[in-house]
């Protein structure tokens, strides 16, 4: 311990953040809706202990016909309410883990490019540009198709195609910080790159990354449901998108089979976007990843 140079990164205080967050109507609605979806997912094994893919009733019962099936049954006699609650678990889980994969890649590449600059940056940004040019959904589709659909391959595929926007955002933030006083002072006192990135740069990049993450989870849920709709979901678990895809066969007569799970997707994605917007305002960011 030599010298008295103290460097402290300015971070939004968590308590203040929560206070600011609950003043935003959009954030409150988002949190409530997300709580509802997550609650449904958590309660699923208690409310519907069986496999939601099992046939347990007469097929195609309309909502309200049988109190045991409040949202009705599909053409194979599966309980739609059970499917939606279990689907919430799967959707949120895949969304969260895929986002984690995208965060690791995106933050890593963005921070590396922004901090090291020069050739490293040029190469990493070329890679990012390539990934931005390949239509992301088609890319995800190809990966899952080649590797065979299962939860791990779906997570990997969504994560692998979801990071470029985040990498650009992180790079821009890091570039800004790198030339700032804080980091320059750390370089002067001889701190290691890893220490500077970990201690001074990443914590300050956190705010936009958090906002982006909630949007990324929303996008991942949309992508997962789209894959499942096309028949590229994990065949062993229930998925909202798969339910809509199955319900499509009977829309002429029993449209509710496709309608109900779609509303669940809207609720989850809307919740996360509202939360992202609310966080964006509360953290006073100009514009995060879109």
């Amino acid at each position: 311990m030599t010298g008295t140079l103290t460097i402290s990164a300015a971070r939004p205080r968590p308590a203040g953040l929560v206070a600011r967050l609950i003043r935003r109507p959009s954030a409150v609605v988002g949190l409530a809706l997300l709580g509802l979806v997550a609650g449904a997912g958590l309660a699923a094994p208690v409310l519907y202990p069986g496999d939601p893919l099992d046939m347990i009733g007469a097929p195609l019962q309309w909502p309200g016909m049988d109190p045991a099936f409040p949202l009705g049954t599909d053409m194979l006699g599966r309980d739609i309410a059970a499917g939606i609650t279990h689907g919430a678990r799967i959707s949120l889980m895949i969304g969260a883990v895929a986002t984690l994969v995208a965060l690791v890649i995106g933050v890593g590449i963005g921070a590396g490019a922004g901090y090291y600059g020069g050739r490293v940056e040029a190469a990493l940004m070329r890679l990012t540009e390539l990934f931005q040019t390949i239509p992301p959904f088609l890319f995800t589709l190809a990966i899952v198709a080649v590797l065979q659909p299962s939860i791990p391959t779906i997570v990997l595929a969504i994560g692998l195609t979801g990071w470029p926007g985040l990498a650009r955002l992180v790079r821009a933030e890091v570039l800004r910080l790198r030339d700032g006083e804080l980091v320059q002072a750390s370089i002067v006192i001889g701190a290691s790159d890893a220490r500077i990135i970990g201690l001074h740069i990443l914590p300050n990049v956190l705010a936009p990354v958090v906002v982006s993450a909630s949007i990324l989870v929303a996008n991942a849920i949309l992508t997962e449901s789209s894959l499942a709709f096309l028949g590229l979901g994990d065949p062993n678990v229930v998925s909202w998108g798969g339910m809509v895809g199955a319900g499509r066969e009977v829309i002429r007569t029993d449209w509710f089979v496709a309608a109900a799970p779609g509303l669940a997707i809207v609720a989850a994605v809307l919740a996360l976007n509202l939360l992202g917007d609310g966080l964006n305002d509360a953290l006073d960011l100009k514009r995060a990843l879109r």
């Binding site: 070329r126 890679l127 540009e129 390539l130 931005q132 040019t133 390949i134 239509p135 992301p136 959904f137 088609l138 890319f139 995800t140 589709l141 190809a142 990966i143 198709a145 080649v146 590797l147 065979q148 929303a218 949309l222 449901s225 789209s226 709709f229 096309l230 028949g231 590229l232 998108g241 809509v244 895809g245 319900g247 499509r248 829309i251 002429r252 449209w255 496709a258 309608a259 779609g262 997707i265 809207v266 994605v269 809307l270 976007n273 509202l274 917007d277 514009r287 879109r290």
Partner: protein
């Protein structure tokens, strides 16, 4: 005067296209070798459904019996000459299949993007002029709702309402089969079939452009030149469209380029829902038949379409922003 900027953009985009093609070739190559089992088997689809001759042909085509480096060089050489191989399932060369389906996809994309940009721009414009007031809140809420709604579900629900209940519009396809319509009658028929898929694909992007235009307008309203215009007594309406909107269009156009890849992905879903005979539908068929060579060919071609579309966006930007015409 504008040509230098356009010319350099074209050269830059062409260089990007080559690097993208090489990059995707690498990605495809990786994917094929990552897949469980023999690459020829993966390419051919599930084992057993492909004839030994076909497997042998694939092996020869990709040089799968040679070292990896040679394999890659061969694959790359083929891709760079746009030789995408042959689809046994469809009985046609992959390039031919893709070219046949490109038109309907471009029609669908053009129609929905055009609608999304115009309607989204108009909504964002109105929202920005009423920022913070009820109309703005309503438009923003609607945009957020569209943004959160999965494309395929919108498609299915629009079919329920407009085709099943109201019976106004066809359920799918691009034209009535066997009517032998020509000329204007055929055009009208195609347009009738286009409405629902284009609207479905457009709503998500409409949401994006509404939000983008609104944000860009609000940003532009804070600029010094707007204050100058107010100070010289320009009417508020005129300020909104001549000073603010003109400048707000620039970031919107930039985003347009970034969204093109995503909209091609959306086309897969929409074309599947509405049986629209485009690239996306072809991708779905390839997926369904496990015709991976075709699927990877589509991936490559749609990336090239994205690069070309980005070139068009660059040129459009040069027209909109006089500063890029410098040099």
């Amino acid at each position: 005067m504008r040509m230098p900027a356009g010319g350099s953009a074209a050269i830059r985009r062409l260089a990007q296209m080559v690097s993208v093609v090489v990059g995707i070739a690498v990605v495809n190559f990786f994917l094929l070798h990552l897949a469980p089992g023999d690459a020829a088997q993966v390419l051919a689809g599930e084992a057993g459904s492909a004839t030994p001759e076909y497997i042998a042909a694939l092996r020869a085509q990709f040089g799968l019996d040679q070292p990896l480096g040679v394999q890659f060089a061969k694959y790359l050489a083929k891709v760079l000459t746009l030789d995408l191989g042959f689809s046994v399932r469809q009985g046609l060369p992959v390039a031919q299949l893709i070219l046949d389906r490109l038109g309907p996809t471009l029609l669908l994309m053009g129609a929905s993007l055009g609608f999304a940009v115009l309607a989204g721009g108009a909504l964002g414009f109105v929202a920005a002029r009423h920022a913070g007031r009820p109309l703005d809140t309503a438009i923003s809420a609607l945009a957020l709702l569209f943004y959160a709604t999965p494309v395929f579900w919108i498609g299915v629900m629009l079919i329920v309402v407009f085709s099943v209940w109201l019976d106004w519009l066809p359920v799918g396809g691009m034209a009535e089969i066997g009517t032998g319509r020509t000329g204007l009658a055929h055009l009208g028929d195609v347009l009738r079939h286009l409405v629902l898929p284009a609207l479905t694909l457009a709503l998500y992007y409409l949401a994006i452009y509404t939000r983008l235009t609104r944000a860009a307008m609000l940003e532009a309203y804070g600029q010094d030149y707007v204050r100058t215009a107010v100070a010289k007594g320009v009417r508020p309406r005129r300020i909104a469209y001549r000073h603010v909107l003109r400048n707000a269009l620039l970031p919107v156009v930039t985003q347009l380029g970034l969204q093109l890849g995503a909209i091609l992905g959306g086309a897969v879903l929409v074309e599947t829902v509405f049986a629209w005979p485009g690239l996306g539908r072809l991708a779905f068929e390839a997926l369904f038949q496990r015709d991976l060579n075709l699927l990877l060919g589509i991936l490559l071609c749609s990336s090239v379409v994205v690069v070309l579309a980005n070139l068009a966006v660059d040129l459009l930007y040069a027209v909109l922003d006089p500063r890029t015409a410098r040099a």
